[in-house]
């Protein structure tokens, strides 16, 4: 699904979190929203997911206006910064949550749900942890469960807020590849937020550098490295 962002801005009271920004994301790409904290990247991600609504501007999914769609109607697989796993549910129930929440007409049968959950557990390479609780998992395992839970709803896009933020360096490297693999197998348009330029450079097809609620530069990693558009980009990326 391609995503078109037209002149989106967002105010929280008197402070502007996002100046009008426009951005076009081709279907199936892996995009990094890169910037320091307070640059508006998480706000932009939450607007795409339907968790915040823009003060002005439009969002188009595959050319159709999606600005007014509710969070449930967006069908965006969202991975939260601290994963937000349901702590009182087993891993299996966490992943099955979205399927069970569907209206009766479109809800798969219990056996079908079990089959899909098992398949997702295989996809994240943790086939045996269905019965465990989030508190019994390591940080890296939690992140992958959160990813599986987001994928279970057959999302139209995947949105990840600092997906590697709370992990140590070694796990971070492994999971980067894991996300790349999952993106390549599912072909989903994937947008992730990060403040780590290495992560963005290594993983993304397209990088959106943001600062103070504005987009500083959009481009492929190589383009940005070769031709930083502003002093900010040069400094932030250590070029």
């Amino acid at each position: 699904m391609n995503i078109e962002i037209e002149e989106i801005c967002k105010d929280f009271g008197t402070t502007a979190a996002l100046q009008p920004v426009s951005l076009s994301i081709p279907a199936g790409s892996l995009v990094a929203l890169l910037g320091p904290s307070g640059s508006g990247k998480t706000t932009l991600l939450r607007i795409l997911g339907g968790l915040e609504f823009p003060s002005a501007g439009r969002v188009l999914f595959d050319g159709a206006d999606a600005t007014g769609l509710t969070v449930q109607e967006r069908r965006a697989g969202f991975v939260f910064q601290s994963y937000a796993l349901f702590r009182h549910m087993s891993v299996f129930d966490n992943i099955a949550y979205g399927l069970r929440a569907r209206p009766r007409k479109t809800r798969p049968a219990a056996a079908e749900i079990a089959r899909r959950v098992t398949r997702l557990l295989d996809l994240i390479k943790l086939p045996d942890i269905g019965g465990r609780y989030p508190s019994q998992l390591s940080g890296g395992q939690r992140q992958r469960v959160a990813l599986a839970r987001a994928l279970a709803i057959e999302p139209r896009m995947l949105l990840l807020d600092e997906p590697f933020g709370a992990l140590d360096a070694k796990v971070r490297k492994e999971l980067r590849q894991g996300l790349r693999d999952i993106h390549d197998t599912t072909g989903l348009t994937t947008i992730f937020v990060t403040h780590d330029q290495d992560e963005a450079m290594e993983l993304a097809d397209l990088i959106v550098v943001m600062s103070m609620g504005r987009i500083e530069q959009i481009g492929r990693p190589a383009e940005i490295r070769a031709r930083p558009a502003s002093d900010f980009v040069r400094q932030f990326l250590d070029l």
Partner: protein, 292 residues
């Protein structure tokens, strides 16, 4: 290593930084037990002892009196009405305060605490002023056959007011700590608002809710001051257990008074045992939800 002093040569036994010497530990525990015995256990035993001074049969007979029966019935039904209502109000208040940002929030938090800071007698008087026969509204209520003051509705209102903070106060810190992320996650997975509440919010707060309900229930059954002002103390009609105890006591019916007091204490005791039993049974689950 050469520069390391061997263990045997060290002057004292090693002790971790947060452990106290045995003497200090012993003194602290003894002090704590002494205070508990004097302030809690001894009076409780005295109450039961006084109740049974003239034997079980006599004590039980005093409970069989129609007035005593009516008081027990009234107290239980007031609690049965007030606790669910305050559970609903408490959840609504805690939800509004912790999950949304709005103007005047700090003010509402203060307002929730009001029943804690106001003397119960004053609270009772407020209801008499508002709904009593001396106010226009109260007079109309009396004329239309639905009096609030000196009747059961007044007792329910006063108890609602006094016990309002218990559940909300218990829920707010828990819900603040848990934040909104899990609810947001459930929404992005397609769940409706009510489904999010039932499958995510409620299970996460159930322990805090249970504690709040138990505390609220204990206070609802035991409230004296506010209820005393609005009830009018009509025997057999608007006399709750605490009021009945005072009446018996003032009439020198000490066995009846202390027997009723024992029943009230036992009811409180049952809720405590219930709480401990639940904690014990769900210990692993409690631990799982608290870590993470």
């Amino acid at each position: 290593m050469a520069h390391c002093v061997p263990l045997a040569a060290r002057p004292r036994r090693l002790r971790s930084a947060t452990t106290e010497p045995r003497v200090v530990k012993g003194v602290l525990i003894a002090l704590c037990l002494a205070v508990l015995s004097v302030l809690l256990f001894a009076p409780l035993i005295a109450v039961f002892d006084e109740a049974l001074r003239r034997g079980w049969a006599f004590a039980l007979a005093s409970l069989g009196e129609p007035d005593a029966q009516a008081a027990i019935r009234l107290t239980l039904s007031v609690a049965a009405l007030v606790v669910p209502l305050n559970a609903a109000f408490g959840i609504a208040a805690a939800w509004a305060i912790t999950k949304f940002d709005w103007r005047g929030k700090a003010w509402v938090i203060t307002l929730i605490d009001l029943p804690f800071s106001i003397s119960p007698v004053v609270a009772g008087l407020l209801f008499v002023l508002m709904f009593g026969a001396n106010s226009a509204f109260g007079a109309w209520l009396v004329a239309s056959g639905f009096p609030i003051v000196f009747a059961v509705p007044g007792i329910v209102l006063a108890t609602l007011f006094i016990t309002f903070p218990f559940i909300a106060r218990e829920l707010i810190p828990v819900m603040l700590e848990q934040g909104r992320a899990e609810e947001e996650a459930a929404l992005t997975l397609g769940a409706s608002g009510s489904r999010v509440f039932l499958t995510v919010t409620l299970p996460n707060i159930r322990w805090a809710l249970l504690y709040g309900v138990l505390l609220c229930n204990a206070r609802a059954m035991g409230e004296f001051g506010a209820v005393a002002v609005v009830s009018g103390k009509i025997r057999g009609q608007t006399t709750t257990m605490p009021l009945m105890i005072e009446m018996f006591y003032n009439e020198y019916l000490s066995v009846a008074a202390f027997t009723m007091a024992s029943v009230l204490a036992l009811l409180a005791f049952v809720t405590l045992v219930l709480k401990s039993a639940l904690e014990w049974r769900h210990a692993d689950q409690l631990a799982a939800t608290h870590r993470h």
